[in-house]
């Protein structure tokens, strides 16, 4: 989990956030410090398909389905985490 910044109390305990960061780390070629505010495309330069692939890992881990529409509306790591929490609340 090197390089993962836990910003604030919520993130520190947030397993979804940690899981997303660990999935993003191999794609983080510029060594950007990961925080909730990091923009996936603009800051990390992760392409849209890679984001969808990461989300598929999250889906299978938590046994939830996250619509493509929801993912395309999220820009930052924090927004993605919040979207997954919302769906976990509904489906989990």
């Amino acid at each position: 989990m090197a390089g993962v910044e836990n910003s604030g109390i919520q993130a520190d305990d947030d397993l979804v956030y940690r899981r997303i960061c660990s999935l993003l780390e191999p794609l983080n070629q510029k060594g950007v410090k990961l925080t909730r505010d990091v923009d996936l495309v603009a800051d990390l330069e992760v392409d849209s398909v890679s984001v969808l692939d990461i989300v598929m890992d999250i889906e299978d881990y938590y046994d939830i389905s996250i619509p493509v529409n929801t993912i395309s509306e999220t820009k930052t790591i924090g927004q993605l985490v919040d979207a997954i929490h919302a769906i976990k609340g509904q489906q989990g």
């Binding site: 890679s50 692939d53 299978d60 939830i64 389905s65 619509p67 493509v68 529409n69 489906q91």
Partner: protein, 404 residues
């Protein structure tokens, strides 16, 4: 100028490659010399990056039919299928495709792209339906979902169990469920386990759409596609295809045994709001269809060529994406390697397609060789020689390099 800012990053690469004459996305066929040859950069080149699988671009009967249609009906329909753009030829072609596939209904669209767009957006009510899409499906299927405004869920590529899980946890609020897969996927040339997908989709009360754009005319005993090869032509719900590959024209279609497929004509904006295929296009597609139906040896020749090329490339130790298929892709670790290798082949008189992430299924880039039944022995000799030289010049394209 913020409207144009978004272009800058890719424009740098695009312009620098164009400046040195090495841009795979700016190739011009300066002169077409036959179904598998064209002049590129002044040099006669073997075309192995077209989708002329059954070599029908210069089929005599198709050219004659197109000329006759031009003389008889003029250059264009000047209207959409929904309004003034349906001629008797469009209706006849719909019947001929339905007969060829052994399905009851067929609706012809202006391109393969609009056929998928029209099928999905026409079938789906975003307020109550959901679409489940294979992770590697073509852009037009994703664009169809976007046009529909539908909730879209992606499942793992060619993985019926992954679909099963996602169908199983769907909110019961969804009334209609549509699953979209392809027959042969065009990037790797891998084929779908359609039979398993039929079982999973129907067990959950979902409909299955199979896009056979690349497999129509090519797979199955009578060329109906991967669905025929899998023995489930009667079980799939919607079959979509294109005229721009095996039939060497332009246009697309949706075929089905569901009589309601006819209602796409008034529910599908890509049917209603774009001009219909020209009479000459319809005529050549129909003649090519007749020709491939009467001559199964054309598809047999394609497979012989594909098997020969796949065996040769395997022998060179090149890292191939799939088992023998009309698409044979060599995987390369970086896009820089792919650009260089693509240019290397072109300089050796061979044109193939190049694809880089995110347009590829994995993290690798690829060179895509599309085989044609019209490739002559001499064409294949030249392809084999060029790939042999490639294997020597680019160790990163080989299996051993990938393993280390």
């Amino acid at each position: 100028m913020s409207l144009f800012d978004k272009f800058e990053k890719n424009a740098v690469l695009y312009n620098s490659l164009s400046a040195i004459g090495k841009n795979p996305f700016a190739v011009v066929m300066e002169e077409v010399l036959g179904p598998t040859r064209a002049k590129i950069k002044g040099r006669e080149t073997v075309l192995a990056g077209t989708h002329n699988y059954l070599g029908q671009t210069f089929e005599k009967s198709a050219i004659e039919a197109a000329k006759a249609a031009l003389d008889r009906e003029g250059t264009g329909t000047t209207g959409s299928r929904f309004a003034n753009g349906t001629f008797s030829g469009h209706k006849k072609l719909e019947r001929d495709i339905a007969d060829f596939l052994g399905l009851k209904h067929c609706v012809v669209f202006s391109t393969g792209y609009t056929a998928n767009l029209g099928a999905i957006a026409g079938l789906i009510n975003p307020a109550e339906d959901v679409v489940l899409v294979d992770a590697d499906c073509h852009a037009c299927i994703y664009d169809g979902c976007a046009l529909a405004g539908a909730e879209t869920i992606r499942f793992r590529h060619n993985d019926p169990e992954s679909l099963d899980k996602r169908l199983g946890r769907l909110d019961p609020k969804f009334k209609g469920k549509l699953v979209c897969i392809e027959g042969m996927y065009s990037m790797y040339g891998d084929i779908a386990p359609v039979k398993e997908f039929v079982e999973v989709a129907h067990r959950h009360g979902a409909y299955l759409l199979v896009d056979e754009a690349h497999s129509f005319g090519v797979y199955g005993e009578t060329g109906k596609g991967v669905s025929e090869a899998e023995g489930v032509m009667d079980e799939i719900d919607f079959y979509t295809g294109t005229f721009s590959k095996a039939l060497a024209a332009i246009g697309g279609f949706v075929a089905s045994n569901h009589p309601q497929a006819e209602y796409l004509r008034f529910s599908s904006r890509p049917y209603q709001f774009t001009a219909s295929p020209s009479p000459a296009t319809i005529a050549s597609a129909g003649a090519a269809l007749k020709n491939i139906k009467e001559h199964p040896e054309i598809a047999a020749k394609l497979w012989a060529n594909a098997n020969r090329l796949h065996a040769a490339l395997t022998q060179y130790g090149l890292k191939l994406a799939s088992k023998p298929a009309p698409v044979i892709s060599v995987l390369l670790p970086t896009k820089e390697d792919a650009f260089a290798a693509w240019n290397f082949l072109l300089e050796n008189g061979v044109y193939v397609n190049m694809a880089i992430p995110p347009g590829t299924p994995g993290k690798e880039s690829l060179l895509r060789l599309a085989v044609s039944s019209a490739h002559t022995n001499e064409d294949i000799d030249r392809l084999v020689a060029a790939y042999g030289a490639l294997a020597e010049a680019f160790p990163s394209a080989k299996v051993t390099a990938a393993a280390s």
